[in-house]
């Protein structure tokens, strides 16, 4: 995050647009939207200096529900679009919104490389363990025995573990949030935006339509018993062994963000033709 702070901060409401969400009543994503707008207000940003980039899916509808600049692109490629935007326009604050299908399945490769590349983006993944927009198919984080029309009896596949993957791929800020706690989620997003380089916030965001049993997540989610570590080995052990409901910043390292060092170079493009010229004086 590097846009200038404002003398008179805006309210969270001023970061919301008038567009009515397509989400079902009770969807966790409403709270994530509230948390994002709250975080942007707390950061003292202006909507015009923030871009929210997304792919396809329920969670990816978020950009248009904010008053910020939005980019609602193709399925799975939000991190790539956000990377181009941030490298080209480093003064903007760039948030990326995704879901477990968009981010971990079709967009899985970009997730690995965004973690590695460490461009200063905040990646917010709303994980509900299901494809909601296409009406209930298993995603990479779905339990192996969850039965659906597309996977009768369950997929039999073990779940993808996004936080461990992020750590192994070089992510420097890894947090888990729960949409049932919008204030806590806002605080984590605020911290993530302040973190220089790539920051990853996985938000447990229940789908009450296709996974009504996820209503019980509010009983399971709890603050992580220990604070963040900067030791990847310790973080790996914690992430591999927790039950998926520890909430908070779980890893924060100090790797420098992706740098673009060319902003001050100013050779006129026409001067580059010199390398092609035969130099007729030499003939």
């Amino acid at each position: 995050m590097n846009a200038p702070l404002q003398a008179t901060p805006l309210t969270a409401k001023e970061f919301k647009s008038a567009t009515k969400p397509v989400w079902c009543p009770g969807c966790g994503d409403y709270s994530v939207l509230a948390a994002i707008t709250k975080a942007l207000a707390a950061l003292g940003l202006r909507p015009e200096n923030v871009a929210v980039v997304s792919g396809i899916g329920c969670s990816s509808r978020i950009p248009a529900y904010t008053s910020c600049y939005g980019f609602h692109g193709v399925h799975g490629r939000s991190l790539a679009a956000a990377t181009g935007l941030k490298v080209a326009r480093p003064e903007l604050t760039v948030l990326v919104a995704s879901g477990d299908g968009d981010g971990y399945s079709i967009g899985g490769n970009h997730f690995l490389h965004a973690c590695r590349r460490n461009v200063d983006l905040t990646y917010i993944v709303m994980d509900n363990h299901v494809y909601g927009m296409t009406k209930g198919q298993p995603s990479p984080t779905t339990e192996p025995d969850w039965s659906s029309k597309l996977s009768p009896g369950g997929t039999g596949l073990r779940e993808f573990h996004p936080l461990v993957i992020a750590l192994a791929s070089g992510a420097n800020f890894i947090a888990r949030a729960f949409s049932g706690d919008p204030n806590g989620t806002a605080a984590l997003i605020e911290q993530a935006v302040r973190h220089p380089g790539f920051s990853f916030v996985e938000v447990l965001s229940p789908c009450v339509t296709f996974r009504p049993e996820q209503r019980a997540w509010k009983e399971r989610a709890r603050a992580a018993p220990v604070g963040p570590t900067d030791d990847p080995a310790r973080a790996a052990r914690r992430l591999m062994t927790d039950d998926g409901f520890n909430i908070g910043v779980l890893f924060e390292g100090k790797r420098p963000p992706y740098g673009v060092a060319t902003a001050h170079a100013k050779t006129a493009p026409a001067a580059l033709a010199a390398s092609f010229e035969l130099g007729e004086d030499r003939a």
């Binding site: 910020c68 609602h72 679009a81 181009g84």
Partner: protein, 574 residues
């Protein structure tokens, strides 16, 4: 054997040998020396499938006139050795009047070259090289070829100074001079004196395309390596650092296309370069550029397909995917450079059209242009960068406002009062997603209108010559077609050439005017199915008497075979 020993205006040389023989070094040296001596020259290359080393052939054309096509035949083939060189036989057409030079130490001349009708000559390249401390056979071969065509030793020396490390020059020059002495006892292929014009470049098509893009304002490039587009990206990497732009190496082409969409959404003109397999991966997201109206430029340096095809060789077979690859109604721009120098102009033009029309533009270059290095007249490029229509704050801001031109001002993030969401979902004027039939119709028409109303001026095609027979072609087939036209004209015949640069949006009315008075048309293209012919038949105005000359890559068309096809056509009409 009778040789034409009077001075000529064009000579074609080929150097071949196995990996490590120094074929490319030798070819580049001759290219540089020819350029420095004032000639027009072009070098293309062919190599085996090995990552490094392996057999290679450097094909050089040196002429007193501008050309970027191949001639009908190779005049002199010099083999440093013969290992696997027969693999290039189809690419090295020889005939009576050609000369094949082999080193007796490397054994017999292989069948296809021995049976070609060419005269055989033997030069002890290896033995002569041994007589010079640190001398190499490839430098002796350079000397022989330079001697045969009449390049002065002084030009070789200056070329060596430009391309070689200082300590190697003395030995190389000594070896080359031994070769030149050998040439005296061989048939002459001497060129006429050159008539050099000032302002010449020695450049590859890939470099020229990159340069054109920068001149037109591109400041962000996303790169995923792919043969034969990689050199364009590598040239851009160094150049962007100098002009104050940025490059990101992407994890795949799905990422690179979306990176440039993101950067251009941010207001920075953006480009990526790829080849067929990469273009196929990018297609969905190019459609996003159409729907969300984000300017981007994709340079497709075509190679043979489908699938991996032949990565190192040219074919004009990506026309279909470039024109029709996208799902939905997706009007966009497709432009094809038609000379080495035009790689710069056409790419710059693509950037200008993309920015002005807020639309993706695909540049169809190919391996022939991309990896050929040649002397060109410095192309004229506009000094002014085309600016896209920028939005200013008005309430409420309508990103996709409907108007006559179809072009609606585009807000750039960071601007207060004009926030909006760029969306691949169909949307209304405000950019709000909409599934209503009326919004879809209005936006589809808007996107079609801005291209339909676009006036490309005379740049849509190169139209040359006159007469009632026309060659209709595009891209790298233009060079040989132009030379066929020149030969016909020298023979007192009239012929018209129409090389289409703007392939989309189609310009049927302009073609109709260009074809006025034409009775028969020969469509020339380098693919098997006649993709250009089919596109013309679908969207353009064609004569009823239209014939097709086509074959798949990688063998380039040669002027003589285009003339022969025209002869046949005209005879059957008579």
């Amino acid at each position: 054997m009778h040789f034409n020993t009077s001075p000529r205006d064009s000579v074609s040389l080929a150097l071949a040998g196995s990996g490590g023989a120094g074929v490319m070094t030798a070819g580049n040296l001759l290219l540089e020396a020819s350029a420095l001596a004032g000639y027009h020259a072009l070098m293309t290359r062919s190599s085996g499938p090995q990552i490094r080393g392996g057999e290679a052939a450097a094909m050089l054309r040196i002429a007193t006139f501008p050309t970027d096509g191949q001639d009908d035949r190779v005049d002199v083939l010099a083999a440093i050795d013969w290992q696997n060189v027969q693999r290039f036989a189809a690419e090295l057409p020889l005939g009576a009047g050609s000369l094949v030079l082999g080193d007796p130490a490397q054994g017999e001349t292989p069948e296809p070259f021995a049976r070609s009708g060419a005269q055989q000559a033997r030069v002890p390249l290896k033995e002569l090289a041994k007589s010079v401390a640190d001398g190499w056979p490839n430098m002796v071969a350079v000397g022989v070829l330079a001697g045969l065509v009449g390049l002065p030793a002084e030009a070789l020396e200056r070329a060596m100074a430009r391309t070689m490390k200082k300590k190697g020059i003395e030995a190389s020059l000594a070896a080359a001079k031994l070769g030149m002495a050998q040439a005296a006892s061989l048939p002459s292929f001497a060129l006429r004196e050159p008539r050099p014009q000032p302002g010449r470049w020695l450049v590859t098509g890939n470099e020229a395309a990159g340069y054109g893009a920068l001149r037109a304002g591109v400041r962000f490039v996303a790169a995923y390596p792919i043969t034969p587009a990689t050199e364009l990206l590598e040239w851009m990497a160094a150049a962007l650092v100098k002009v104050g732009g940025a490059m990101v190496q992407a994890e795949d082409e799905l990422a690179s296309i979306n990176m440039i969409l993101g950067a251009s959404y941010g207001g920075v003109p953006s480009l990526t370069a790829t080849s067929g397999p990469g273009l196929a991966l990018m297609i969905e997201s190019i459609g996003l550029g159409v729907a969300a109206e984000i300017p981007i430029v994709v340079v497709d340096v075509m190679r043979t397909g489908p699938s991996t095809g032949i990565a190192t060789k040219a074919e004009q077979a990506d026309l279909n995917i470039a024109l029709y690859g996208m799902h939905g109604d997706a009007p966009h721009v497709v432009v094809a450079p038609n000379s080495l120098a035009d790689c710069a102009r056409a790419t710059a033009w693509a950037v200008e059209m993309a920015e002005a029309l807020q639309v993706p533009a695909i540049v169809l270059s190919d391996q022939y242009f991309g990896q050929a290095r040649g002397v060109v007249s410095a192309p004229e490029l506009p000094d002014e960068v085309v600016q896209r229509a920028r939005a200013t704050a008005d309430q409420p801001y309508c990103r996709y406002a409907l108007n006559d031109s179809g072009i609606s001002p585009m807000a750039v993030p960071g601007t207060p009062g004009t926030t909006y969401t760029a969306d691949g979902l169909e949307h209304n004027e405000r950019g709000t997603p909409s599934s209503q039939a009326s919004d879809h119709l209005a936006q589809v028409e808007k996107r079609a209108r801005k291209l339909a109303r676009f006036d490309p001026g005379d740049a849509w095609a190169s139209v040359e010559g006159d007469g009632d027979t026309a060659i209709l072609t595009f891209g790298s087939c233009t060079g040989p077609a132009r030379e066929a036209l020149e030969r016909a004209r020298a023979g007192g015949r009239r012929l018209r050439l129409i090389s289409v640069r703007l392939l989309a949006p189609a310009q049927p009315e302009r073609l109709k005017r260009a074809l006025q008075g034409v009775r028969r048309v020969l469509v020339v293209e380098q693919n098997h199915s006649g993709q250009f012919l089919r596109a013309l038949r679908a969207d353009w105005e064609l004569q009823s008497e239209t014939h097709s000359l086509r074959r798949p890559g990688p063998l380039p068309f040669r002027p003589g075979e285009i003339l022969a096809a025209l002869d046949k056509l005209q005879r059957s009409a008579a």
